[in-house]
């Protein structure tokens, strides 16, 4: 972005332009017309783009979509109908709507207004919530669509315009470090060869830069003015979701040129290392590949909510049953009222009735009464449950967002719950599927250690070592503490202010290596680091400091390390590399140039990289670095002096979670090189399909007989606290799978680094790199390859399962599978075997997996195990996975917004997951499940008193209470405590949630929302309603209820019953929570108070409004001692059984949270021995995490000691 001035010149950028393809072996493949191109113009390949012709009539006809990307659910016009439709997809709401409509007919037991009002409140509140949420999405859209980009306005003038205004065919100019606004066809760049570097992290999560190259025909168009007369027609495929294919052709100056993915720059990828590019817009907005790839966000519902629906259905069933029973009785009673012209209950005038009470048509009356009863007992279904739940969840999300301990100061990012639907699901996660890059690691590499000539250097301590030491309380921990204290004292000492370098060792730093015994080897080692790479140096003009732009961060780490240790790589030309290095003889820094002869690049099959240089003395050197697995076998017989030591060190490094590379070199004779070069040049000029294979063979020949120098250890820097977090999560019984697009080695290294893998774990590795498969692949028959691969994968899986079942549970297994095998493993007939295997393993790592595969694995786990899955990732390549999982968590650290946009909750750092799950997840789960149970309880209690009263009113459909009492039951007198329960309740504080991670299992095993618990609560409601009703009517019977002789009538009995219900349900709430802040007190006791206030105020209104409630409280109840005595008695005696139950449970069968509460209460929470006793019950052998690693190590030591004695 630092680029000043307009388009054309780019002098700064040009300085470093390189003819890369001349030295590089593999990249920059040549495009040619292949068979695919014959399809252009056919079905699926019909897109025509008129480049740079905004006024072209033909282009107007095509009418491609604009570049506005909309992620909102509603638009202004569709909001009302669509959100209403969403609302009434809930059966409960439809029921309430029908009930409200019926309540304007004579069928109703309540007045119409009192029945409609709660529904309106509920629907209105939900709609407002939906509206606000969508508005927020809209704002994000606006931000995204209003980003600026330079676009050609005609006559070679480029101006800034918003992304949304781009149309197909526009020529745009994108500058360094900016995102591409749409899918572009690369025309030219600041480099002569029209190449550019692209970072596709947002698309596939890969961090290395990709090289794209424009057609030769357009590469000259690298100034603004050159677009004055530029015209071209591109014909290509229709919009599709495939990120890696593109077929098209460009007609330029009446010449046809084939186009390939090599020329396509995708939206959401980023321009790097290149000053600017020119491109023409091919796909816009929703046609772009990345948007095509993203499905519309699925609306996710939590398990609890789904179960809640079932409970609601159950209550409907109950409602129908009791309504049915009531109707039968009513029908019989009504029929009896008129027999042979004689009226039984003459005061009801059964001889002259409407159909509702007509004894002559008793069956019809009964059927109509059934409808009445459905409305009357509607209070069994908690109308406000859904809306309360939504309100509660929004407030819970506010707390999640506000949590300071999930706030990341460096990027100023708090946690952000984007949808509040899934809060309680956070408390039930069984499996976490994690991305690696940017999620577990911060995507920066640091050079920490090295082993040179069999001597280990570097005293830095890695995250993993630190975590292990802290856990064990070993002497290392003291050492660390000392060191850390030192560092606090002398902040200037901190060397790791240099990004990518965290190496510390007095023996080699500041030129001291000269005094080491094998200084010659050290010199070669460092020189190799400084030469053998593909980085580009960049000199800061002011300070003279050199920084590097490398394809991958580990590469950069090596060059930086070499620089810091005295071998500063400062200049690269097409054919040479120049260093500032220390001359061991004179001890002076001298400049030295190496002639670069060839580069044999790194790739995943070679696992090594070599360069051939001629040094100042004319010696030919082959410098090589690579993975230990390929390097050791290429050593010369006399080059293995330090092999054993080095291997030992490499193992140590791997155990400390470091990435290791082996460094070796050899001197070439002139003849050897000449031969090689001939073959190599020949191979490079091949145009056949096996060109790469031939090159590889040639390279193979020269990379042998090497002399070992040593090994490097680079820390793929884990994010802070990742090992601890994983350990805690593992202790909580959560499984962690890593799904990454990275190479297998990298993935395994990270597995080690974050303690998902450890040395003595048995690794089951499934891949297709066996010689047989490779042999078949060479033959190239696609069907044959697929068959062989399938067979191989099936065999490997079944072998794995066998291994798993044959060994005892003591062994921990790790499954590592690569993307190619995964394709076969995920096929329908094998996927269940694969799942069995994976579930049996302690850790699962899928590497080289595509976004689609990530999503498929997630779905497999989700559906296969039926448990809650959580996916966490940071790049657009994780989007599918995030959407597929029950919960998707986006890491909001890096620039890309794709993952965050499609996640349910965004956090800034992986380690916050610990708090998010163990604290917030647990709380939310507990809160929601308790709240739902309580809602059912309180409504059953209330609804059944209505039913019981009916039994005494010959099921005529008369409500026991005043209409507005009933109507406000769910709104004023009982809802706030339930909301407080849902928002604020804590069984144990955050500290204890983290201290006793196994508490989390309450959610995973769903003990708080099991059918047993739900039914118990319902039973409690049934029991309470029976107690309340019968105590009340027996106590107030027929006698006068006060000194002045009046008897209890319907109004007074109603008020008394209602008072008891309000007291009982609120006190039940107070009994069932164990966390009272001021808020709980206010809400619970306030609700009771509000009932009395309401009774007084409503009773004080004129009888026209208050009807039966007129002065009931002031005149009749309040002044009667029996009213108060009944209230006290009914409340307490109804609650005693529950109280007994909880006292007995707490004393004899405490649940896990109960035990922790007890510990805290008795003040033993800081007594380690005491806590251990409780924890003992919780500890089950965790198989991953550094706790497990430390345990395993101590076991190993014990074992050894035993063997010795």
């Amino acid at each position: 972005m630092g680029r000043s001035g307009g388009g054309g010149g780019g002098g700064g950028g040009r300085r470093k332009k390189l003819h890369l393809s001349k030295i590089y072996a593999f990249s920059c493949g040549k495009a040619s017309f292949k068979e695919d191109h014959s399809q252009i113009g056919g079905p699926g390949f019909s897109r025509v783009v008129f480049c740079n012709e905004p006024d072209c009539a033909e282009a107007g006809v095509l009418n491609y979509s604009d570049n506005y990307v909309r992620t909102t659910k509603y638009t202004l016009a569709t909001f009302v109908p669509k959100s209403l439709f969403e609302q009434f997809r809930r059966v409960a709401n439809v029921y309430f709507l029908v009930a409200a409509c019926l309540s304007f007919t004579p069928l109703t037991p309540y007045s119409g207004a009192s029945a409609l009002l709660p529904l309106l409140v509920v629907i209105g509140a939900t709609m407002i919530k939906e509206g606000i949420e969508d508005w927020r999405r809209k704002q994000q859209d606006i931000e995204m669509n209003n980003r600026k980009v330079k676009v050609h306005n005609g006559d070679g003038v480029f101006d800034y315009t918003e992304w949304r205004n781009l149309t197909v065919g526009d020529v745009v100019m994108v500058e360094k470090d900016n995102f591409f606004p749409a899918d572009l066809l690369l025309l030219s760049s600041s480099y002569d060869e029209a190449i550019c570097y692209v970072e596709t992290m947002n698309l596939d999560g890969e961090t290395n830069l990709k090289v794209k190259q424009a057609l030769d025909a357009t590469s000259g168009l690298n100034e603004d003015s050159s677009f004055q007369d530029f015209k071209a027609v591109v014909k290509c495929e229709d919009p599709n979701a495939s990120l890696y294919t593109f077929v098209g052709s460009m007609e330029l100056a009446e010449q046809q040129y084939p186009l390939s993915p090599q020329q396509l720059l995708l939206r959401d990828s980023k321009l790097r290392n290149t000053e600017f590019i020119y491109g023409v817009v091919i796909f816009t907005g929703h046609d772009t590949k990345v948007i095509q790839n993203s499905r519309s966000p699925p609306s996710k519902r939590s398990r609890i909510e789904r179960k809640m629906d079932k409970i609601v259905y159950f209550l409907f069933f109950l409602l129908v049953v009791i309504a049915f029973v009531g109707s039968i009785v009513f029908g019989i009673e009504t029929r009896k009222d008129l027999r042979n012209g004689k009226m039984k209950r003459w005061y009801l005038r059964p001889d002259d009735t409407k159909v509702y009470y007509n004894p002559k048509q008793a069956p019809i009356a009964a059927i109509l009464h059934f409808l009445t009863a459905l409305i009357l007992y509607g209070y069994l279904i908690p109308i406000s449950l859904y809306v309360s739940m939504e309100i509660v969840k929004v407030l819970q999300s506010v707390f999640i967002n506000q949590d300071q301990q999930m706030y990341y100061e460096e990027t100023d990012k708090p946690a952000h719950a984007r949808t509040s639907n899934l809060n309680e699901e956070l408390g039930q996660v069984e499996t976490i599927l994690s991305d690696k890059t940017g999620t577990l690691t911060c995507n920066s590499m640091e050079f920490v250690k090295c082993s040179i000539a069999g001597v280990a250097y570097g005293q830095g301590i890695t995250e993993v070592e630190r975590a292990m030491a802290r856990r064990k309380g070993s002497p290392l921990a003291d050492k660390i503490r000392e060191r850390e204290e030192e560092m606090v004292e002398l902040p200037a000492n901190r060397k790791n202010t240099i990004k990518g370098f965290n190496f510390e060792d007095e023996r080699v730093m500041n030129g001291k290596w000269l005094d080491e015994p094998r200084a010659d080897v050290i010199q070669k080692f460092l020189r190799l680091l400084a030469i053998c790479h593909t980085a580009i140096p960049e000199e800061d003009e002011e300070s003279g400091k050199i920084s590097y732009e490398a394809e991958s961060p580990d590469e950069a780490a090596f060059v930086i390390a070499a620089r810091e240790l005295g071998f500063e790589f400062y200049k690269r030309t097409q054919t040479s590399i120049s260093l500032h290095e220390l001359d061991p003889l004179s001890g002076v820094r001298i400049e030295r140039a190496y002639k670069l002869l060839s580069v044999l690049e790194f790739n995943s099959t070679r696992k090594r990289m070599s360069v051939i240089v001629r040094d100042g003395d004319g010696k030919l050197l082959l410098l090589s670095k690579g993975a230990d697995s390929v390097m050791f076998e290429r050593l010369a017989k006399d080059g293995r002096d330090f092999e054993e030591k080095t291997r030992e060190h490499i193992n140590e490094y791997a155990d400390a979670g470091l990435r290791t590379l082996v460094l070796a070199y050899r001197e070439l004779s002139e003849e050897e090189y000449r031969n090689f070069n001939e073959e190599f040049t020949e191979a490079k000029n091949l145009v056949s399909s096996d060109r790469d294979a031939v090159i590889e063979e040639v390279a193979e020949k020269i990379e042998k007989n090497l002399i070992l120098l040593g090994a490097t250890a680079v820390e793929d820097k884990l994010q802070i606290g990742v090992p601890e977090c994983i350990d805690k999560l593992a202790q909580a019984g959560i499984k962690i799978w890593v799904l990454t697009g990275d190479k297998m080695e990298t993935a395994i290294n990270i597995g080690f680094a974050c303690s998902l893998l450890r040395q003595e774990m048995k690794q089951i590795i499934i891949n297709l790199e066996t010689p047989e498969i490779l042999a078949i692949e060479k033959e190239g028959d696609k069907a044959e390859i697929a068959k062989a691969c399938k067979a191989s994968v099936v065999k490997q899986i079944s072998d794995g399962v066998k291994q798993l079942t044959s060994s005892g549970s003591a062994d921990a297994y790790a499954l590592i599978i690569d993307g190619k095998s995964l394709t076969y493993a995920l096929q329908d007939d094998t996927k269940n075997n694969f799942l069995d295997l994976a579930v049996g393993c302690a850790s699962v790592i899928c590497c080289r997996s595509s976004p689609k595969q990530k999503a498929l694995v997630t779905r497999l786990v989700k559906i296969g195990t039926g448990k809650t899955t959580l996916a966490i990732g940071d790049g657009a390549n994780d989007v599918g996975m995030l959407q597929e999982a029950d919960i998707g968590i986006g890491i909001s650290g890096v620039e890309g917004m794709q993952a965050v946009m499609s996640s349910d909750i965004a956090i800034a750092q992986f380690r916050f997951l610990e708090r998010l799950l163990l604290v917030h997840g647990h709380w939310c789960y507990r809160r929601i499940s308790s709240m739902v149970c309580y809602f059912f309880y309180k409504n059953i209690t209330f609804g059944l008193t209505l039913f019981l009263f009916e039994a005494y009113a010959s099921f005529s459909g008369q409500a026991a209470y005043n209409d507005w009492f009933t109507s406000f039951y769910n709104v004023f007198f009982t809802s706030l405590p339930a909301l407080a329960l849902g928002v604020f309740d804590q069984d144990v504080s955050a500290r204890f949630c983290l201290k006793f991670p196994l508490l989390y299992q309450e959610g995973v095993q769903n003990v708080l929302f099991s059918w047993r618990r739900i039914l118990s609560w319902m039973f409690n409601g049934l029991y309470s309603s029976i107690m309340i009703f019968f105590f009340c009517i027996t106590a107030s019977q027929t006698q006068s209820f006060r000194k002045s002789g009046q008897v209890v009538d319907m109004e007074i009995l109603g008020a008394t019953l209602y008072t008891c219900v309000v007291w009982v349900v609120n006190c039940q709430m107070a009994l069932s929570i164990s966390y009272f802040t001021v808020i709980q007190h206010i809400f619970i006791w306030g609700s009771i108070l509000v009932w009395y206030l309401f009774l007084m105020l409503y009773g004080a209104m004129t009888p026209k409004i208050s009807t039966t409630a007129y002065k009931v409280f002031i005149e009749a109840c309040a002044t009667a001692p029996s009213y108060w005595l009944i209230t006290v008695f009914v409340t307490i005696s109804t609650l005693i059984p529950y109280f007994m139950y909880s006292a007995i449970q707490m004393r004899f069968f405490p649940m896990y949270h109960g035990m922790i509460q007890w510990i805290r209460y008795e003040g033993h929470s800081d007594d380690p021995e005491f806590c251990n006793v409780v924890r003992q019950r919780s500890i089950r052998p965790t198989t991953v995490g550094f706790t497990a690693r430390a345990n395993a190590r101590s076991n190993r030591i014990k074992e050894r000691q035993r063997q010795r004695t």
Partner: protein, 327 residues
């Protein structure tokens, strides 16, 4: 984000900020009771200690009430009509007077409340409850939307005041009490709730076209007395909650001595025979807790003593098996 809430950025927080910070971090000072045996035992004990005296008080109050109940529905029908009580009650030509005697067992202090009690009478039936018009009761003929009163809405094209089934079925047995030779005065004023008299029944609303239909329900009303003074109607129209109910008839404002014999001259007009209901006459004094009902007292006593028992059980268990360490 509430930046001010962060402790590291603002080391000294005002009280308000501190509370807000604690609130947003869900770390408010809270009372976290745990059901330890000590608490459980203490709770049960105190419940017992509160409940038992309350029970005794309530029981005492109930016991102090003297209540005389006389069921007369069958006895007031002459033997010949006992087989067809409905025919008897419907036959206007037969005189319905009836005389009952009962003895006062214990002295009764004035005021002595006189109730009539009906059983199996569904005043809480929805059709019945809804069959009234409060506006009409308050405003009289000025208010004429009385559809809720059907079928007792109008008669011969003229509206009925008070309309509806409740008023139409007004209870119309009457009682007069004679002690020795002296008639005991019954005060039939102030038996209805004041709020009803003053705000629900109009002072200027007079009965109109009432009980003029072919089918006579219950009692008739004096068309010269405004509804607000027709207290028996007001009491009747305050519908009972349960099918067995008493309603206040009046008050005897003289003490009755033990062994007094009371003669009741009653007119057995009301048809409770069609629906098989009982009719009772009740004389009762009143305590601070109201009439005679031992339930509340016994219930308090029972719950109170079981609380004590539970507490003892817990103590016993706790002494025998102290809670194991750390569980």
């Amino acid at each position: 984000m509430d930046v001010d809430g962060r402790p590291q950025s603002v080391p000294v927080l005002s009280r308000r900020q501190k509370v807000i910070y604690q609130f947003t971090q869900q770390n408010l000072p809270a009372c976290k009771p745990v059901l330890t045996p000590a608490w459980v035992i203490a709770t049960f004990f105190s419940l017992g200690i509160i409940f038992i005296p309350l029970g005794l008080l309530a029981l005492g109050a109930s016991q102090s009430v003297v209540e005389i109940v006389d069921q007369y529905d069958t006895d007031c029908i002459p033997e010949v009509f006992r087989s067809n009580k409905v025919a008897f009650i419907k036959d206007d030509s037969i005189p319905k007077n009836c005389t009952r005697y009962f003895k006062v067992h214990k002295p009764m202090k004035a005021p002595i409340y006189v109730y009539y009690q009906l059983d199996n009478y569904y005043q809480n039936h929805r059709r019945y409850v809804k069959s009234r018009n409060d506006r009409q009761l308050l405003y009289g003929l000025k208010y004429n939307d009385t559809s809720s009163c059907k079928p007792e809405e109008s008669n011969n094209g003229l509206p009925i005041v008070p309309c509806g089934l409740i008023a139409w079925s007004l209870f119309n047995d009457t009682y007069r009490f004679v002690r020795g030779a002296v008639e005991l005065g019954i005060n039939r004023k102030n038996i209805a709730w004041r709020s009803d008299r003053e705000h629900k029944f109009g002072k200027h609303v007079y009965p109109f076209n009432f009980q003029n239909g072919t089918l006579i329900g219950g009692g008739k009303l004096d068309p010269t007395i405004p509804l607000s003074d027709q207290e028996d109607l007001i009491v009747w129209m305050r519908t009972a909650a349960l099918p067995s109910f008493r309603k206040l008839y009046g008050k005897i404002e003289e003490d009755l001595e033990g062994d007094d014999v009371i003669q009741v001259n009653l007119f057995n007009n009301y048809n409770s025979y069609s629906f098989g209901g009982k009719k009772k006459l009740v004389l009762s004094t009143s305590s601070w807790l109201g009439g005679k009902n031992d339930f509340l007292g016994f219930a308090y006593l029972a719950v109170g003593s079981s609380c004590i028992l539970i507490a003892l059980f817990f103590i016993l268990f706790h002494v025998k098996n102290p809670r194991p360490y750390g569980i």
